[in-house]
Structures are given as structure tokens and as C-alpha cells.
Symmetry: C2
Amino acid sequence: MKIISASRIIHMVNKTHRELPAPGSIKAHILVAAKAEFAQYGFEGARMQRVADRAALPKPNIHYHFKSKQQLYLAVLERIIESWNLAFDQVSEASDPAEALEAFIRQKLRQAQQDPAASRLFANEMIQGAPNLKHYLNTSMRAWVQDRAKVIKQWMQAGKIQNVDPERLIFLIWSATQHYADFQVQALSLLNRAEFDDPVLTETADFLVTFILRGCGLAPDSRTT
Amino acid sequence: MKIISASRIIHMVNKTHRELPAPGSIKAHILVAAKAEFAQYGFEGARMQRVADRAALPKPNIHYHFKSKQQLYLAVLERIIESWNLAFDQVSEASDPAEALEAFIRQKLRQAQQDPAASRLFANEMIQGAPNLKHYLNTSMRAWVQDRAKVIKQWMQAGKIQNVDPERLIFLIWSATQHYADFQVQALSLLNRAEFDDPVLTETADFLVTFILRGCGLAPDSRTT
DNA sequence: GTCTATAAGCTGATAGAC
DNA sequence: GTCTATCAGCTTATAGAC
């Protein structure tokens, strides 16, 4: 059976793949500002003036580098999806399920902490019904999930992990990790913390790894009595 | 020890509690339309004209019944939070953990299916940093979670469930269930379904109940080999 | 490439007839 | 209570000087 690299599937996203703006360039600078704005307010709520303010540039400069609000939004979206699920990308039947899932969970959570705007922008797009990402969802994302689900099914058939719906397991890991970025204000209030710093990240990652691995039948019992 | 009803905590939300518009009234009709609009586009992205279109009313009629966009938004928000976590509200130390958690998960998921707009509106508010719900998060929501966490801790001390961070367990249940409403378009694509109908709801609920109960050490092993 | 000035159209909100 | 007409201000986008 031919092995298809999951990372190759991800690259199918960019049909009209433009070269990325050089880091440090003005375009890259604007994209960072735009990501924060679109993440917080969604496409319709975003304001080009606020993008300009965030980038500390006059508004027409934004329009010089990106023809329209729509094109700026699409440019931001494109850059986000690429580095989305890297840690679970090269996993195969031979991989250790506990190690692979742990690495996946920790990587997703680290991304949520390091770049919550990316996660929130994606969340906004999903909430609105993915008007700009429907094609991506129905092609490369679905292909990636089915490809990764196949590996999980092999683990199940080999008795390495519990029987669980693989697609829903991936969806649960996405939700449980991304939620700490998207609903960060709620998580911090609930945990009575001021910021999502490294200690909170570690405690959260430990909890999620333990809980999800146990859900897969992969962690020891540690009951009190 | 004095037992405080969790539902009483929820009622602390409405400091300035106005009577709810009668079902079938024009105000109630407008609120339904506004909920859908705010849910999809967030506060800044929402358009009063679209609210009017959704309600099939002239725009000034909206302003006649609600003074401003802000007030309409707050009116919608108020109505959502009340029925948020009812199924886990009356649970006590004496309750069976598996039954209580299962009822909680199934109720949250049913709400996500029946009223995804409510979940999405709340998600939008969280993504934006909860500008209108910071106070709620830091008072009644936190009190509710701590109160419910206390019960879970009692279950843990009694050896009824695994040792897990109770606050993070509640947060995970919220994320895993609400995600099916907020990211419905992604879930449907991933599961290759056309709509979030009853069969999908049941399968999803069964998966989540099994998986989360097992994470709490509350479900039998069902490995293949 | 950058920025001031401004056009063209949209948005929240209201005045005033019915 | 309802609806047409409309205002003042804001929003995307561009023209044109530098």
C-alpha cells in the first residue's frame, strides 16, 4: 500500500500558492496586525483603520500592499492553516500511540498559547460557516483527517488503544486544546489566573494528556481509595 | 455545612433583571433574529439591517423596541446564559457520578444542536475577550464552577472517580460539546454528513459519554484483543 | 513606496406622517 | 405601533502630490 505523506495533503490547500512575504518585510508586518484584528472581530467586524493602527501605518499603505480587505483576509487565512497539525503529521502505525497522541496534544496547546490569534481567526471563520474555507474543509482537511484516522484504526485493530471513533477523537483533541486559546478569558477566570503563562500551560497539557490518554485506555489508574 | 443551590448562583447574573418578553411577542421575535445575526457575525460585524431582514420588519421597528444595537445585544446575551448548565445544577455528592456526568454531557450537546446560535454568540463574546461578560465570568460563572468542582472533589475523595482537575474537566466538557455547535461546518465535513440530525447527535453523545467517563475511570475496557 | 485628501457608499439611529 | 425618508458619521477604497 502506498504511503501518502500527510504533509503533502496539507499542501493541497494552496492551489494558487504565492510565495510568503519575507519575515520582517512590511507585508509580513501588516499580516500580523491583520491577523489580530480579524481574530478579534471576524471579517465583517474588522476595520481597515484598526489594522493600520495596529501596524502603526497610514491606512492607504495597507491598501497599497493588499488590494482589498477580502484579499488581506485570505492572505492571513492561508498562512495559518499550513502549520496546523504538524506534530501528528508523520505518525504511522508503527508509532507508539501514547507518545504520538501526547506530542500532538502538547503541540496544539503550545500553538494555542503562542498564537491565540490564529486559533481565534479560524474559530471566527468556522462560526460563520466557513464561507472562505468550505473547499478546504471538504478536500484537504477531510483527507488529512481520514488519513490520520486510518492510523488510529490500525492501532485499535492491533489492540494498542481502546475502540474509539477516530474522527471524533481528533475533533475532541482540537476542541479541548483550541478552547484554551479561543475562550482564554473564560479559562483564566475559571482557573483564577492572570495570564496563560508557562506554568498554566504545563498543568493544562498534563491534564489533557492524562485525561485523553486514559480515554484511549492508555494511562494507569490512580484512584484515591 | 450549608448547601447553596447552584441555580441560585446562576440567578446572580441578572442584577438588573427585566421581565422576559412574552413568547410570540414582537420583542421575542426580534430577539430570535438578533441572536442569529450576532451569533454569526459578532457584535461589530452584526448589521441592524440584517436583523430587520431576518425578522422581516422595517429597520426602524427594531430601534423602536430596542433603543440601540448595544442594548439589543445585551438583551440577547442575558437570555442565553440562564439555561446554560441546568443538567449539572442539582447534582450533589450523593449523586452517581456516571449518571450525573452523562446527563450533563447529553444536555449540553442537545442544546448545541437545538440552539447552535446561542453557543456561537457566546463563543464570539469569549473570542473578543468577553467585553460584556467579564463581570459574569468573574462572579457567578466562577462561583458556579467552584461549587460544582467541590462536588467532583468529594467524588474523588470517596474514590468514586479518578483524580482529575475538576475545573479543567468542566472546561473540557464545555469545549467538547459546544464545539459541535460552534464548528458545526467542520464537524459535518469531517464526519461526512449533511446535517447535525438526531442520528449524528446520538452517535456523538455516545462517543463523548464513553470517552469522558473512561477519562474519569468510569467505563469498562472494550479493547479488541 | 508613502501619505494627505477625498470620493462613494454604507450604518446606526431618528424625525415625522399615518 | 408602524413605516418612509433621511441625517450625520463612519468605512472601504482611490486619486494624486511627494
